[in-house]
């Protein structure tokens, strides 16, 4: 597990709709042991949006963002406000 900071960093992701894309996304969070403090999902047929709060240093969160962005059915990952 990465070093925790006590301060969660929010990231948002848009991915393909449906349960399979969401399943892949969640599996990646778990598989890479991302320190998920909070997760909100709005699943749609065409597109799903997830908001995650990660308890780790900003640099680590950016690496996780790269990893999630590389997933085939993830369209976009960003930090709100940036």
């Amino acid at each position: 597990m990465p070093e925790t900071t006590g301060t969660a960093i929010a990231i948002e992701a848009k991915m393909a709709g449906g349960i399979y894309a969401l399943n892949r996304f969640l599996m990646t969070l778990q598989n890479k042991r991302m320190p998920v403090k909070n997760l909100e999902v709005n699943m749609g047929e065409e597109e799903t949006k997830a908001t995650i709060r990660l308890d780790c240093p900003h640099e680590t969160a950016r690496r996780y963002m790269s990893l999630l962005e590389l997933l085939e059915d993830v369209h976009e990952v960003w930090e709100p406000g940036n």
């Binding site: 399979y20 399943n23 892949r24 990646t28 680590t60 990893l67 590389l70």
Partner: protein
């Protein structure tokens, strides 16, 4: 168009000639997609849910290799992919066929090997019903694949398989699973469309290249650490050019072995848990580590916080999520190894050789190691076996190793001079990998020598493949380093568990008789026997031959950095 395929019972295909399903059904679209990807060889094992595909297969110029276990099909596809750089393909049915593939998928994933696995699934109406031979293979494969598909729309079958190939080979390569319900294989398809993927390889940031070049120019004690990414990118020439241009010593990871000839004067060995002590010490002292196409695996770094403590680190990897994962780089570059090294070379027009004293220091530190090795060389044991294989099989030999002590001895003592001639399961450490992987290698290069080096544990894990090897007439030679133990586990028990050899003593068959039962040739060599004569015999035997070398049962692999520790805690033989 009427969907005649749906009229067939998805659990009991009546083998109506394929022509009945023209113009095109799912199974035909699958074969066409494989052909359109340039595939020649498939490795697989049929079963109920993949029968429509197998029914279509004989109508296409695709050569199917029937393995004797699905795991072997996956490893054979993996070996084929590693040897050729092309995407390997394996096929299995649903349920146990699919679950048997999983070890092979995980092996390929850990070592970034491009592979496409196609599995049959129970028909769509039967899915989710706990049907006979139903497993959620797509879900199961998620952590071990780059991507996994379940194709529920027949029109998506062809484009999905094409996409699977593109995903497998693009960016950082890896395995992709395509799960196809049986009724989808029967169903008529109307769409041959193929949509290209999003671009996976980002452009290289040139400030990073310039900064890397500047660090190389200034370094007094640099080391290049080359990994599997160099081989995957075909960047062997760029690696040598960069090393020669800067006079920088080169080390490789286990999977990077053979990216540079062991004969090259700048090659100094490989680091890590069982790497040469001198190489580990050189990394400990270096002031710049140019790490390319590697991921700082824990077997390389040990305690990462104490790894290369004096060095600035340039880390080049095609996967941006690897940068900073284990070691924080001074300069991180997301790029293909070839493009990145070419880019760095472009910023190295004039370079002074600052490293002469560093190279001399490393050379001096290797003297006692080399002397020790030379003393052991004539003795009956692993070093002499490696020397004999190289000497007798020649420059073109490809070595496929299994996992354990013999794997480390091969890496330590075999002289790799041909590029991409070392094939092994590095990341996952999959025992049972070597024999089936060698089938893929031998099929790709039928006229070149392929030797398997395995332990007596690993060879028994997929030994049923002797039947496949016999049927295919594959030219594979096997050297078993037989110590009657699961040797590496026994070694750990000796070092860390007070010699309690719990469940590591192991028996096996008489391999000579076992091979004969398959109509194949075998020989047993006991300590003191003629190693060279046995290797020569195997080399001259047409097709397959196995030599069971009985070796010292308590021989250990030295040096060893215990897991999670640093170079200062290294265990050496003569210590």
């Amino acid at each position: 168009m009427e969907n005649t395929a749906h009229k067939a019972d998805f659990d009991a295909f009546d083998h109506t000639p394929a022509i009945e399903y023209k113009p095109r059904i799912g199974s035909e679209a699958m074969c066409e997609a494989l052909l359109d990807e340039g595939i020649e060889h498939l490795f697989g094992y049929p079963g109920g849910a993949i029968m429509p595909f197998y029914d279509a297969l004989p109508d296409y110029p695709l050569k199917h290799v029937l393995t004797r276990h699905e795991q072997a099909a996956a490893h054979a596809a993996d070996g084929y992919a590693r040897a050729t750089g092309e995407v390997g393909v394996c096929i299995a049915t649903s349920g146990p066929g699919a679950t048997n593939l999983v070890t092979g998928l995980a092996t390929a994933m850990m070592d970034s090997v491009p592979m496409v696995a196609i599995t049959g699934q129970v028909g769509r109406p039967a899915m989710g019903m706990d049907s006979f031979q139903e497993t959620n293979v797509m879900g199961m494969a998620l952590p071990f694949t780059k991507h996994s598909f379940l194709v529920e729309d027949p029109d998506e079958l062809y484009p999905t398989i094409r996409r699977a190939f593109e995903i497998a080979r693009s960016g950082r390569p890896g395995p992709v699973l395509v799960d196809v319900p049986k009724d989808v294989q029967f169903a008529a398809c109307n769409d041959n469309g193929y949509r290209r993927l999003k671009e996976a390889v980002p452009p290289i940031a040139s400030p990073g290249l310039e900064a890397a070049a500047l660090l190389l120019k200034k370094a007094k004690k640099p080391i290049i650490l080359a990994g599997h990414g160099v081989t995957l990118a075909g960047a062997e020439l760029e690696l040598v050019r960069l090393a020669e241009k800067t006079g920088t010593p080169v080390v490789t990871t286990l999977l990077g072995l053979s990216a540079i000839s062991n004969d090259h004067p700048l090659y100094i060995g490989w680091p890590g848990m069982h790497g040469q002590a001198s190489v580990n010490r050189a990394i400990d002292k270096c002031d710049l580590l140019f790490a390319v196409g590697m991921r700082f695996d824990d077997r390389i770094t040990g305690n990462a916080s104490k790894f290369a403590p004096n060095a600035k680190v340039i880390h080049i990897d095609i996967d941006p999520s690897e940068l900073g994962k284990v070691v924080k780089p001074t300069v991180g570059i997301t790029a293909d190894a070839k493009a990145a090294m070419r880019g760095v070379l472009g910023h190295l027009d004039s370079v002074e050789d600052n490293c002469a004293s560093w190279r001399a220091e490393i050379k001096k530190s290797q003297e006692s190691e080399k002397m020790h090795e030379e003393t052991a060389r004539p003795e009956y044991g692993p070093i002499r076996i490696m020397d004999a294989i190289k000497e007798i099989a020649g420059e073109e030999v490809r070595l496929v190793t299994d996992v354990g002590q013999h794997q480390m001895w091969s890496a330590q003592f075999f002289k790799f001079t041909k590029k991409n001639s070392h094939i092994t399961s590095g990341g996952l450490g999959t025992m049972g990998f070597a024999l089936p992987a060698a089938m893929g290698v031998a099929l790709a290069y039928p006229d070149e020598p392929v030797w398997v080096v395995a332990g007596d544990g690993g060879i028994q894990m997929n030994i049923q493949e002797l039947a496949t090897i016999r049927d295919m007439g594959l030219n594979i030679k096997v050297a078993i380093l037989n110590n009657g133990y699961l040797g590496m586990v026994r070694q750990w028990q000796q070092f860390f568990h007070n010699r309690r050899y719990s469940s590591t003593p192991m028996t096996g068959p008489d391999y000579e008789i076992f091979a004969a039962a398959y109509g194949l040739a075998g020989k047993t060599i006991h300590p003191g026997g003629d190693i060279e004569e046995a290797v020569k015999w195997a080399n001259e035997t047409e097709g397959f031959a196995i030599v069971d070398f009985h070796i010292d049962s308590e021989a250990n692999v030295y040096p060893m950095i215990p897991s999670g520790m640093s170079v200062s805690e290294m265990i050496e033989e003569h210590a």
